[in-house]
């Protein structure tokens, strides 16, 4: 037996991994402001996150999605495999549609969330934040299914904002107005085609464009020209995107939940119920990993709950502890911002039950603000509200408005 392994020098990568769009994005990233995303070169902002945020809500923003982890899942038992993996009923997902879903470990705790694209009866793409190959392959044992990491073979741009439809029309995508939310379709572009899905992480009108790396730069350039008459297509980083996603009430891994397979401390991982995602759990579809645990949790009651809160004042409450009657610590804000669009101080909060369900009043966020090198503590009243904080009708309208 030979255990030696030779590493060729040119296979060892040093530093961040480029995405196919880096040649356009790097010159614009004047402050070299980057965010960590699975080792890829990924901008946190392009110098002015507020401005980038307003592009999401007022014109069109473009975000490089290429680092998104993508798996191609196909085979005669692809659906059966995903039924066992996911909490959602995948049999109901038709080819040409996309579903947001979570998957759990045996204890019914969320490993990650993501979007599942049904490309055909036996073919899917799973997009998610964390690397999942180990869990996918573990779950695939006993199923006639193949799983392939295609992260580097498919690059993506997220085009979000009220004028995004107009931009795509100007790009020449035929009949793109008929694309409904969570629908996907191939469109011819240049010598080949791109896939467009009406999906996004902003809660606004928006699309995600997927293509082969060879088409990346032509697509980028074409979008820039197509956007010229519509207030431009503004490159954005993850900071602006994060603001939009909080307004939309979407959760993030490592922010609002700890991926169960990475959580080391007992009790840190969260169930779909605790994340307010019971609508993603279908107990009637047959077995799935975590089903028994979730049934038991449903019976016994969850320990925590994620709620949307409106916080008094205008000081962002990110990570603030929450107290009941200003005395008993009952949770914390997992994501909090001043929402420029809702003009409210908003947050997602993880509370220990019964707080958040039967006890919903007299909750206070402990916010620390630095004022001229001095910390001041504010107790700001929290009101539990319904997410999303911002939900424009244009998000769902089909055909979308030609702003």
């Amino acid at each position: 037996m030979n255990y030696s392994m030779k590493i060729k020098p040119d296979t060892v990568r040093v530093g961040l991994k480029p995405t196919p769009f880096i040649d356009r994005l790097r010159p614009l990233n004047k402050f070299e402001s980057l965010a960590y995303w699975q080792g890829y070169w990924s901008p946190a902002d392009f110098g002015n996150p507020e401005r980038e945020y307003f592009a999401i809500r007022n014109t069109t923003s473009v975000f490089d999605l290429s680092p998104m982890t993508k798996y191609r899942i196909k085979g005669p038992q692809a659906e059966a495999f995903l039924q066992r993996l996911m909490t959602r009923n995948i049999a109901k997902l038709k080819p040409g549609r996309v579903a947001y879903t979570v998957w759990c470990n045996d204890e019914g705790k969320v490993i990650d969330d993501g979007t599942l694209f049904r490309l055909g009866p036996q073919e899917f793409r799973l997009c998610c934040q964390e690397h999942q190959l180990f869990w996918l392959l573990t779950s695939a044992a006993g199923f006639d299914v193949s799983i392939h990491d295609e992260t580097d073979e498919v690059c993506g741009l997220s085009l979000q904002g009220p004028t995004s439809y107009s931009v795509l029309r100007a790009l020449g995508l035929a009949a793109v107005e008929t694309l409904k939310p969570f629908e996907l379709r191939d469109f011819s572009f240049g010598p080949g085609s791109i896939m467009v899905s009406r999906t996004g992480f902003t809660g606004d009108l928006g699309y995600e464009l997927w293509c082969a790396p060879g088409q990346a730069l032509p697509l980028w350039d074409a979008l820039q020209s197509a956007g010229r008459d519509f207030g431009g297509v503004e490159p954005i980083g993850s900071t602006a995107l994060d603001m939009a996603r909080i307004e939309a009430g979407f959760i993030g891994a490592h922010l609002d939940f700890m991926p169960a397979d990475q959580a080391v401390r007992a009790g840190r991982a969260a169930s779909p119920f605790e994340l307010n995602l019971e609508w993603l759990v279908d107990f009637n579809k047959g077995h799935f990993t975590g089903r028994a645990a979730l049934l038991a949790e449903q019976k016994a009651g969850s320990k925590r709950c994620l709620v949307a809160v409106d916080i008094e004042g205008n000081k962002p409450a990110n990570h603030a502890l929450i107290y009941h009657r200003k005395k008993t610590e009952v949770g914390h804000i997992s994501s909090g911002i001043w929402s420029p669009t809702a003009k409210r101080n908003i947050g997602l909060a993880m509370l220990q039950m019964p707080y958040g369900k039967s006890i919903t009043s007299d909750l206070w966020a402990e916010i620390y603000v630095m004022r001229e090198l001095k910390w001041e503590k504010r107790m700001a009243k929290c009101t539990i509200v319904k997410a999303p904080f911002f939900e424009p009708a244009r998000r769902r309208a089909t055909p979308p408005g030609a702003y």
Binding site: A80, N105, D106, G142, G290
Partner: protein, 519 residues
């Protein structure tokens, strides 16, 4: 006919479980894939007129409680020898014969005096672990009353070892048997005896950590009131299964042979019956599997009905055996160098030293069989002449170490393996080859194919610290119930483990019945 309980597999544990269930009023059907009941506790004809135990050949662990409850003596269990000697033969004439605390032969005076003290001490420790056999392993969290009582009993039992022996137990529990033997003895053949009992049937060498536990496990057995006694059932090991079968049959247990269960029917997380290879569907409110957990949960239930992490745990159980079985039909009583007539009526351990046992283990780690394996031999026809034609004999040998997987596969390697084993045997019993009139050699691959033993493993899963108690067969199924409601396990892969003991079957029946009471 409708059944309340279906037991998949008529191994001795399945039969024990079925008999106990029937005893409390259940209507039980046992479905067995083979044409013969008993699983690895069976007797077979290897040549016309020559009958011998297929796999297990010595009885030392059958639980007294089960013998008594099911009145196995009344159902035909007899012994041709009740407390046989163990003789270690070095091959060069050196021999050491032991019966309980007595050791005579090639042993130093110091070791001969020390042996009864050591053996009594090991037996005492093992005796205090006995309560563990008939209890469900403790739950990792949230115990119920009956469990607390069980634990209390066990705790009390271990405490009552007394300070010195308890300290010794804690010292040796995770130790290897090579070091233990060296702690107490110098004489090579006594060390062989101690380590052979620890490694036979396992994929451990004398120097593998945890091998002492395996020795203590064996010593928890007490047959006919004598702890550590080894007996030969009259008619071979099939006699035990036969008695269990009759004990069940009189209580209404039905057995169908040649019926392999292909699928356990599961809907909404609950088992409701089985489908056999012929496509027949048989319904029952409870299904209990004597097969190993991987086969039960992955092949019969199916991945789509179980959690992925559980499936991974189940599939990772270490169950690659390293034990083969050689059965011979002989025209004459073989002549083992150094063995007298009494020795031939008992158990023979063939090897010269504990080091040689460890050396024999080495090739098995790398896909090869040992050319000088440890052999455990009995010639049951000496005390049970009916097993062979007059004046002829059957010999039963456990061949330790031959791995489950060999380079280039067993299909082509069986012949050379057999030649090597016979040559090795010839070294200890010159002339034996000439008297062979029939041979049946079972490699671990054969044991798996013929008996369904996963990896050909004697215990359905290695008996090692990480696969014991609440980790046996895996956490989440350690108390006989599986994550699939109404589906239980009762085989050797469960606590406490393999060997012809019946404890797993007994405990499983108790778990099934407890569920009924709770409902």
């Amino acid at each position: 006919m409708s059944y309340s309980h279906i037991v998949i597999g008529a191994g001795h544990n399945g039969l024990t479980c079925a008999a106990y269930l029937a005893k409390s009023g259940a209507k039980v059907l046992v479905l067995e894939a083979r044409s013969q009941p008993g699983g690895a506790a069976a007797t077979e004809e290897i040549a016309p007129g020559y009958r011998v135990s297929s796999c297990a050949h010595l009885l030392y662990q059958l639980h007294p409680r089960i013998m008594l409850d099911l009145a196995l003596d009344r159902h035909g269990l007899e012994f041709s020898a009740k407390n046989i000697t163990t003789t270690v033969l070095a091959g060069d004439g050196a021999a050491l014969t032991m019966l309980d605390g007595k050791a005579t032969g090639n042993i130093s005076e110091k070791d001969a005096q020390n042996w009864p003290i050591f053996w009594a001490r090991m037996k005492k420790i093992a005796r205090h672990l006995q309560p563990m056999l008939l209890m469900s392993p403790p739950r990792l969290a949230g115990r119920d009353l009956s469990q607390n009582l069980d634990l209390l009993k066990l705790g009390w039992s271990i405490r009552s070892l007394g300070r010195e022996d308890m300290r010794e137990f804690l010292r040796i529990a995770a130790m290897n048997v090579y070091d233990l033997a060296a702690d107490y003895f110098d004489s090579p053949l006594i060390k062989v005896r101690i380590s052979a009992d620890a490694v036979l049937g396992t994929t451990l060498g004398p120097r593998s950590p945890g091998s002492v536990l395996s020795l203590l496990y064996k010593l928890t057995g007490a047959l006919n009131g004598v702890q550590g006694a080894m007996a030969l059932p009259k008619g071979g090991m099939g006699a035990v299964s036969g008695a269990l079968l009759r004990a069940g049959a009189v209580r209404g247990v039905d057995l169908r042979l040649g019926q392999r269960v292909r699928r356990i029917i599961v809907a909404d997380g609950k088992a409701s019956g089985v489908e056999t290879d012929t496509g027949e569907i048989i319904e029952a409110a409870n299904v209990i599997s004597n097969a190993d957990i991987a086969k039960t949960m992955v092949s019969m239930v199916g991945a789509q009905h179980i959690d992925a992490g559980f499936q991974r745990d189940v599939s990772k159980i270490r169950s690659k055996g390293a034990t083969a079985k050689l059965n011979l039909a002989l025209s004459a009583l073989p002549n083992f160098t150094g063995a007298d007539a009494q020795a031939l009526a008992g158990r023979l351990l063939l090897t010269e030293s504990i080091e040689q046992i460890e050396l024999a283990f080495n090739p098995a780690k790398y896909g090869q069989w040992s050319k000088h394996p440890l052999l455990e031999v009995v010639i049951p026809s000496v005390t049970d002449p009916a097993l062979a034609p007059a004046g002829h004999h059957v010999l039963s040998a456990i061949v330790q170490y031959a791995p489950y997987q060999v380079e280039s596969g067993w299909a082509s390697q069986r012949e050379p393996f057999q030649r090597d084993v016979m040559a090795h045997l010839e070294h200890f019993a010159p002339g034996i080859g000439a008297s062979v009139v029939g041979t049946d050699l079972k490699t671990p691959a054969d044991l798996e194919a013929q008996f369904g033993l996963p990896g050909g493993h004697w215990h359905h899963g290695e008996l090692a610290i990480d696969q014991l108690l609440m980790l046996r067969p895996v956490a989440g199924a350690a108390r006989y119930a599986t994550p699939v409601e109404n589906l239980f396990l009762c085989g050797a892969g469960c606590h406490p483990g393999g060997g012809v003991m019946g404890a797993a079957g007994y405990n499983a029946a108790r778990a099934v019945l407890a569920k009924r009471q709770a409902a």
